[in-house]
């Protein structure tokens, strides 16, 4: 009797791969961005399929294939999951503590820096100008965003 294709293994592996590759997709939505639960859900589903596939391959070897490809796909899936977890729980959290950063209630240190058109702009300039060119009233606040840069 010809043994059937053990599709569960491949589906499981594809889910694990999707769990990893969909990270940048899910960061677009506020609900899935701060904690990547949607990615972990995909990994979980992938794990179940891989497990079912392995049980079939080794439990009913006369019916299902996958004794060789099963452990390989499962190992790759675990590897991808491990790498993802490493990025999420370690690599992305490697930030300086910035204990000396200005705090709420403190005066913002003054500075003067060039903008994108090489005009010198100071913090005082920002706070004394309108919030946008569409407005004439003085800005009520400034939002200062420090970012890593695009180099």
């Amino acid at each position: 009797m010809k043994r059937s294709w053990n599709w569960s293994l491949w589906i499981g592996f594809l889910f694990a791969l999707a769990g990893f590759l969909s990270y940048t997709f899910f960061t677009r939505f506020p609900i899935t961005r701060d904690f990547p639960w949607a990615n972990f859900l995909l990994f979980g589903v992938g794990g179940i399929f891989l497990l079912v596939g392995l049980v079939r391959a080794f439990g009913k070897p006369q019916r299902y294939r996958g004794k060789i490809v099963g452990p390989i796909l499962a190992a790759l899936g675990v590897l991808v999951f491990g790498f993802f977890s490493y990025l999420i729980f370690y690599e992305l959290r490697q930030l300086p503590s910035s204990t000396g950063a200005p705090r709420v209630g403190e005066r913002t240190p003054e500075f003067t820096l060039p903008d994108q058109d090489n005009n010198q702009v100071s913090l005082t300039d920002l706070l004394s100008a309108p919030a946008s060119s569409a407005s004439t009233a003085k800005a009520k606040a400034a939002l200062l965003i420090f970012y890593r840069g695009f180099w």
Binding site: L95, P109, L126, S135, I145, G149
Partner: protein, 113 residues
Amino acid sequence: MRSFQDKLSELESRGIRVVALSVDTPEISRRHRLKQHFTYTFLSDPKAEVIQRYDLLHAGAGPKGTDIARPAEFLIDSTGIIRWVNLTENIAVRARPEQVLEAFDEMESGAAR
């Protein structure tokens, strides 16, 4: 940063001036702004002097081990006092415009009292 551009008209109409700051040169900021259709101001601190003064330096985290800024957001009132700070613990998790608007509303209601 995209989210702040998307909500920029609301932030500006409330009187909040949005400014970004990094080690990128004015030239890089100018190109990036055009490409991404960002319209708020980008300030350039290539030597990371202001970034260091704010203790926001992430040493060696840039290209070829250069120093860059760690992500951080400050809401500053018109007198120059900091009213809200966000120092993320995860590079991928940044402040959202909704948080800033909420902090701004709180600041406004405090000022009116």
